[in-house]
Amino acid sequence: MKYSIHVNGAIKRVEADADTPLLWVLRDTLNLKGTKFACGTGMCGACTVHLNGAARRSCLISIANVGSGVVTTIEGIGDTPVGKKVQQAWLDIDVVQCGYCQAGQIMSAAALLATNTKPSDADIDHAMAGNICRCATYPRIRAAIKLAAGLPMIDAREADA
C-alpha cells in the first residue's frame, strides 16, 4: 500500500503494508533512526513520537491509521520552541546515561510542556510514567524538565526530608 504521511514538516510518500507500525516506517523506510524500538507493545515509551502534538507510542500506531495526522519525531522536535528548550535542558543537566530511552523521554517531556508550561511534580510524574529508563536517570529527567520550564529544580517531596 502507498501512503502519504506528514512527518517533521514534510509530506513523505511511503510504501508499506497496512499493518506496519509507524515505528518501523520511521526507522526502516524513512531512515529516521532516532525513534527507538524496545518493547513493541507500548509498555516502555522508547518509541514515543508526537501525533498531532500528543505523545503517542509509534509501535502501536499502524501506518494505515496515521492518516492526515501530523507526526513529529525526535529529529524534528528541535524545530519547535519547546522541543529546543527541552533538548538544551537535557544537555545542560547531561541527563543521558546509555541514552537509548532518551528520545522517548524528550518527546514525552516536550508534549507535557507544550500544554502545561509550569507542571507540578505530580504532573511530571503523570506525563513521564510510561517512559522507562533502565539506567534510572529519572532524577535528572525530572530536573531537566524543570529547567526547561524555568521551575526550581528541587523536588518538593525530597525537600521535606
Partner: protein
Amino acid sequence: MKRLEITAAEPAGDGVVHARRAFLRASAALGGGLLLEFALPVRGFARANPQSPAEGGVLGAYVRISPDGLVTITSKNPEIGQGIKTMLPMLIAEELDADWSKVRIDQALSDPAVFGRQVAGGSRATPLNWEPMRRVGAAARQMLVLAASQIWAVPASECQTSSGVVRHAPSGQTLDYGALASKAATIAAPDLKAVTLKDPKDFRIIGTPQRGVDSPAVVTGKPLFGIDVDLPGMRHAVFVKCPVFGGAVNHANLEAILAAPGVSHAFVVNGGQTFDGLVSGVAIVADSWWAAARARRKLEVDWNEGPTAAQDSAGFAARAAVLGPQPPELSIAREGDVDAALAGAAHVIEAAYSYPFLAHAALEPQNCTAHVQDGKAEIWAPTQNPDSGCKIVANTLGLAEADITIHMMRCGGGFGRRLMNDYMVEAAWISREIGAPVKLLWDREDDLRHDFYRPAGFHFFKAGLDGAGKLVAFRDHFISFGTGGKFANSAGLQPVEFPARFVPNFELGATLMALGVPTGPMRAPGSNALAFAFQSFIDELAFAARRDAVQFRLDLLGPPRIYAGTQGPNGATPDFDSGRMRAVLERVADRSGWGKRPLRTRSGLGAAFYFSHWATSPRSCRRPSLRAATFASKKSGWQPTSAATSSIRWAPRIKSKGPQSTASARRSDRPSRSSAGARSRAISMTIGCCASTVLRPWMCIS
C-alpha cells in the same frame, strides 16, 4: 574505516603472547599536523600482532592534532552508558594540556593487540588505563613544547603549556598547538616511561564534570546504537530459539514462512550447546524487520526440548526448602564453633531469604549487523566484550580472527548481558548463509527468554545473640546452582562475605542444584543479591537485639581494622577496612538524618552497607579516581558517584564527599579506590515511600 592490516600472531609455546610494552610513534598527519600513534601494554592477547613502529605498521590508537588546533583522540572501550568513551580521552587530554572544547573523539575498533583490554565489565577501565593513557598525553605535550622551544630558540624548560597553548614566559611569546603540530611531527616520540606526569593538583580536566561526547547526538536522535546500523543491500533477520534452554529444532514449517510477504530466506540452524555460541534455531530473513517479525507469527516448530524442560522455578524453590535444613554439600568458610555458640546463645534467630532469576532487560534489544563474505567478516555490534565475540565467530564460522572486524556500537544498556555475544555469532552465521549483509534484531520477548540470568539463590540463616545483644554466631546455608562442587556463572559466594571475620563463630556452606539455564553477571555481580540477603538478615538481628539498625552495624564492625583480601573464585577480593566502612556508615547516617528524619505515614528508613567487588588486582590498581569519568550537573546540586554502579549512580542533594573525600582523592596521586571500583560502599535508602510510578532511589554511596 578500514581495519589495520595485521597478521595473526603466533602464540608463544605456553599459549600466551608475552607482555609487550607500550610504544609510541610520531608522524605527520594527513593534511598537516601531528599524528601520534600508540599501542598500550598488552598481556595475554593473541589476536593480532601489529608490526613494530620501526617496520612501518599502522596502529589504530592515535592522538591527532591538526593545524586548526583540533585534537582527535581514539577512545578504545565499549560505551554502554558508563561514560568511558568520554572519560578515557580525558586522561590523554589532561596530560596533553589540551583545550577540551577542541577535543574530538573517535570510537576505536576492537583490536586488543593494539588497545589491550576492551571490555565494559569488572570496573577496570580506569585503573588499567589511568597511567598508560596519561603517559601518551604527556608525551604529546612534551613534543609540542620541544617544537615551540626550537622555533623560538629557547630552552624547553622555560616553556609552559595551558589549555592548548605553549607559552614562553620570559618573552611572553605564545603558539597554539595547531600551529606547532606540524613541527612536532618531525620530533622523535619520547620514551613513554620517561615522560613527566602532572602533579594531580594541577589537573584541569580530570575531576571535572564533562558532558558525554555523544549526548548531543542522543538528544537529537542521530544514529548511534547498534540497532541504528544501516548498510546498502542489508537484509533483516529474526532468529527463533527453543523456549527451553538447550532444545533443538526437529522440524519447522519453513515453506509457509517462505511464502510470507517480504521473506527471502527461512532456514534451520543446527547449533551447539554453548549458550554464548550458536544454538539451534530458525532464521527468518526479509526485506524489512517488520516483515520478518510478522512472518514469525506463522512459524510452527517441533522442538526437541531436552532435559531442561523438567526444570522450573517452583521446583528449585521446593528443592531448596528440603536442602536448606540439611548439612551443606560445600564448606565455604568456618571459624569457631557455631553449634556450641548457638547452644549458649540468649537468642537464636532463623530466617530464609530467596531471590529469583533476573533478566538484564537492557532497553536496546540484542542486535547485531554482520557482513560475511570471501572468508572475512565485518560486524557492527553493541557489545561489552567484543574480543570474546570475535573468538566465537572465528571458531564457529572457521574464520581467522584477523579476518574479523568488529565495530563497537554504543550500547543501549549493558548491565553484564552484553558480555555474552550470542547475537553476534547468530548474525554472522545468517549473513554467511544468505550471502548478504544482515541486521539481526531480537524482539523484547527473545531478550527476556534468552538471557544469561542473574542466578536465583536461597539463603538459610541462623544466628545467635548473647544476653547483651551482641552477635556471637552466624551461619548461612546457601542453596545455589552448579555441578561437581563448582558454582554456576555468577552464582557463587566468597568465603569473606561479611560478617565473616567479624563474628567469632561463623559458617558459610553451600549446596548446589544442577541447572540447565544460562546465568551470568548482572551489574555488581553477586553483590546485588547477596547484599540484600545478608544485610536484611543483619537488620533482623538488630531488631531482635533491640538495637538501632545503624548502631548494631557499627558495633558489628567494631574497632577499625583491616583484613587483607584473598583470592576468591571471581578473582582477588578487596581488603576489608572496617574503620573506613564505619566512617562511611556514620556519614550516611548523618547525611540522611538517621533517627531525626521525619517520616511520612507508611514509610521507613533503612540502612545497609556492602563490601563490594574489587575493580582490579591490588597489584595493578594505582588507586585511580573515576571522578574523571562521571558527569555531574553543576546546576542540579546532585553529585555523581561511581560509574561502575550505574544502578545507584546518583545521590540527590547529598553533597557526598564521603569519609575519604573525593575532593582530596583527586588531589592525591593515589586517588581513592572508592570512586573507581568501590572498595566499600554504604547505602541508605528510603523504602516504600514512592507515591509515583517513577522510581526515586534516594541513596548515598561513598
